[in-house]
């Protein structure tokens, strides 16, 4: 099946800093989503982005489908941005989402 690798595994930021999270995938995809998992386990949709660039407030994402990677940018980080960020993809012949191992972000005040 399709492989999804996220980097870095852990990220510690000072409040106000900017950061970039990366997601590499091994095959063509129909769907790519970024999620933020809060401490209670809820997966919150950040972006549906199989290709192109999107922005939502301090967050933005870019997917270069031809090169099989996606980037999530967090600008002016806040303590509420802490948590685990997951990238998940749906392969061209799939209905399921395959998740990466996640990036754990800790933002310190």
């Amino acid at each position: 099946g399709i492989q999804v690798e996220q980097s870095p595994p852990d990220l510690i930021l000072q409040e106000g800093a900017n950061s970039t999270l990366r997601c590499n995938f091994s095959d063509s995809v129909n769907n790519l989503q970024w999620f933020h998992q809060n401490p209670w386990g809820q997966l919150i949709n950040l972006f549906y982005i199989p290709s192109g660039t999107k922005q939502n407030g301090r967050l933005s994402a870019t997917t270069v489908a031809t090169e099989r990677y996606s980037l999530l940018y967090i600008s002016s980080s806040q303590t509420t941005d802490s948590g685990v960020y997951f990238c998940a993809v749906e392969g061209a012949n799939d209905y399921k989402l395959s998740f990466g191992a996640g990036t754990t972000v800790t933002v310190r005040a």
Partner: protein
Amino acid sequence: DAGVTQSPTHLIKTRGQQVTLRCSPKSGHDTVSWYQQALGQGPQFIFQYYEEEERQRGNFPDRFSGHQFPNYSSELNVNALLLGDSALYLCASSSTSGTWNEQFFGPGTRLTVL
């Protein structure tokens, strides 16, 4: 507009028992997927239901079974529980209409097997 709902929130069972988890999809969605998330890992796909049929299945044993009802809600059943089945079980819904197949997740059911 209600999002994806799951019940119960928490559940404690003993080895060998059976459990049923429930999921109601987001309004307008017709497809339900189930995922298992062990501590410190990403969610793993169990199966997906569409039109009351299992459309795709992940690498889970037959002890894991499911059902989808005519109102699109779904159940996940796990028989002969093992300690290793302790995890957060997540339900996701999506729609087959339109061009977007974005999945939305419920808050999860945390299952502990003793």
